[in-house]
Symmetry: C3
Subunit: 325 residues, 3 copies
């Protein structure tokens, strides 16, 4: 157990050791039991988290804000458009000033090529921990919830096979932060990872290099494929969601146009039936229903999406309680 | 006293028994005294309420949020437009997920034909109580505040006469939830109810049937009229406010056009003078001043609108403390 | 020490006695030490502040909301545009109703000719303290933070010279509340005040009369100048920021046009070098960087802008703890 987490930023899960991640998951499980028992756990009484959103959210905001309140503290919901941040305040000023008013700063900024850079600039100016609520490259709290959920359903993750797949969606060009951080985490956990996507939807090369290195160390594996159906065969975990062709497309229109070539990349019952019998279907939500995934799957017996969403709360409370105390 | 309210939804007041309503009012009175004395009452320490608004509000949001804070908890102010709710999250997902993050969900959704349906869908997916902060059909927390206020001013309500009247307003086509829930509650309380409105402003027939049945059981009465002036004569309580011709008009323009036939339906001093000497004037606010009601009445000695607004806080704290503990 | 502050409004600092201001600064220093030590100070446990914003803000909102949370209470962030305040609720209704739901009301309303009037109307209807988070005339909490910061850096303020100067900015016509309240406070503190601005940027005559009277009583002085460079010479404190020519310009366009005559009014290293060697540079932020002030100054060794911004938190907590208990 590694517990020296006070004051630590969480920007990419890869920057935290496996033992530190283990500590988070253990604390999260304890907090989940405490909440079920109604046992008070005010580890952050009267502490304050500033939540800074450059992009709207339901689960992320609701779970961080509820989590701080359950820990006895308070989370400020700050939308960048309602403030002077858009016109005048630099990242350094935000880090300096919000870091003096608060005990932690959480930021969601998914703009491609900007989000991670902004978060790191704020972190370098802040005297308190900075937590990444999703950037253009990483989504560590989602991935912690995913790890917790897979462990609850499957136990030891070593040797299990996960299908990390692209799927079609019509709504908008979603960030690549979830598949990137998931591939990194699953290879570190010793899983056999199938990364499946059409050629245009590739991830950042340095992330894949790191994931390959993770697999080499853990005894897991990383395999890239471009056959949607093949990705499902015999896997223990299906994690199929849409993202944008951000490394390829010059703009949203071009991205949407590329996507329309692959509208048959939808997770349906026929495909799920080719996975292992007890395979679980995961998705960070919101899903484009019947476009990205069929109702029969997301509402079916193999779906664990609500438990997955719930675990956001518990892992985030664990991170906050350990870093912001 | 009926106290088994933990976990109960409050969507329509009619679904709660008279004894349960009585319990709410007793707890509300105690909480009002506690606040006046500065006596702590943290019945919901570190509990969290999600407040979901599909329509803006001042009193409703401010009173629920202040109430949760005074009870030691926290209320999240979630506007549907700032989230992914508008594009992607189903009612079931909102109920499942917000129900796992929070200890209660409060919803305001007044769109005609949609609001009540949405709230019930969320409630059926939620593991925690769902509280109706106003829908297209009901406004139970307003009506609880109205009952508390009438009791504070008039004592036993049985046998008193209340004028539940339409009035003109130019601002927008307001919901019919207040008159509907008020007519139901007043007939249950044994009051003699005059429901007064131009023919186009009728309420839902099934509500009126239920109100008639309520009156039969309680010894009260229900009378429908279309003469604004006659509604005032000799009554103990004047509750005159605007609402839209929602069962008749196909759209807002047609609704506004119908309204302009009745611009003289304004509560003024001359009309108030025909009520009982000690009649009280009630209104849930905000009022269209000098259109819906004259300043001389709403700011006059018979007006109880500020006490009525204040009692929103106390009844809502009672409901939350009893259902969300 | 004057401690009878329970229930007091803070709308203009001039309305509080020097001893009362002294009490605020002493409590602020204690709260600042408590926070550094992690010593709990829940003086407002479960109390609620309504923050009403007619104009967006970063520091003001974040510091008031964090401050209430650290004191054990809660601050509601209410934007006027999200409520019915814009259409229907009068100032009296806001004061009556928010005053019944909350333990304090804080308002930011900087519209020229309206803000202060609105705040006083709310205050006269409210049963709880009303705190001015900046109006068209005054910004008392900023000035309290400025006094605290100057005392931390310079000790006794009597006899020190401060350059309260206009500077150019292109972003928008900023309120005159900071220079007005600062000139009043600095003359009361016995400082020698140089008020420096182009002729079009004059302040309200009654404010200057009051400041002159303050100086007469305190042994300080007040001098008006229109030479930007001369303002810097030998001063102990440089407080140069932009404001609009609100007493002269009929509209924003005319204001912007006047401003463009003075684009060389920027605080740079050359000008700072003419001040005293240990002169401090102050600014309430956000600054128009390299237009209003050069990076070399605001990020340089004489700048105290982050400490100044931090002290907003501590003085506001002191005001809230003393008035809202």
């Amino acid at each position: 157990m590694q517990t020296g987490l006070r004051g630590r930023d969480l920007i990419s899960l890869q920057e935290w050791s496996l033992e530190e991640v283990e500590t988070i998951l253990e604390v999260a499980a304890e907090l989940k039991r405490d909440r079920a028992l109604g046992k008070p756990h005010p580890y952050l009484r009267d502490r304050v988290l500033a939540m800074l959103f450059f992009f709207s959210s339901t689960r992320t905001r609701a779970s961080f804000e509820a989590g701080m309140a359950q820990l006895g503290g308070h989370a400020q919901f700050i939308e960048s458009r309602t403030t002077q941040i858009a016109h005048g305040d630099t990242a350094k000023e935000i880090g300096e000033i919000l870091g003096r008013y608060n005990d932690g700063i959480a930021i969601r900024h998914v703009t491609w090529g900007e989000g991670n850079k902004y978060i790191r600039e704020v972190a370098s100016a802040s005297r308190v921990p900075v937590l990444n609520m999703q950037c253009d490259m990483f989504h560590p709290h989602q991935i912690l919830a995913d790890l917790m959920t897979m462990r609850e359903k499957k136990g030891d993750l070593r040797g299990l096979t996960i299908d990390v797949s692209w799927a079609y969606a019509s709504s908008y060009q979603k960030p690549i932060s979830v598949p990137q951080d998931l591939v990194l985490a699953a290879t570190r956990a010793g899983m056999n990872v199938r990364l499946v996507h059409p050629p245009e939807y590739r991830l950042m090369p340095e992330i894949l290099d790191q994931a390959a290195e993770n697999a080499r160390r853990s005894g897991g594996s990383l395999e890239s494929m471009d056959d949607f159906d093949a990705g499902f065969r015999g896997v223990d975990v299906v994690y199929a969601k849409s993202w944008g062709p951000l490394l390829v497309a010059k703009n949203d229109d071009e991205g949407a146009s590329i996507g329309r070539k692959y509208t048959d990349w939808i997770t349906d019952a026929r495909r799920m039936a080719t996975a292992a019998d007890d395979a679980i279907f995961m998705h960070p939500l919101p899903a484009d229903r019947n476009i990205e995934v069929a109702d029969e799957v997301i509402d079916g017996p193999n779906s664990v999406v609500y438990d997955e969403a719930e675990n956001r709360l518990h892992v985030q409370k664990a991170v906050m309680a350990l870093t912001m105390r």
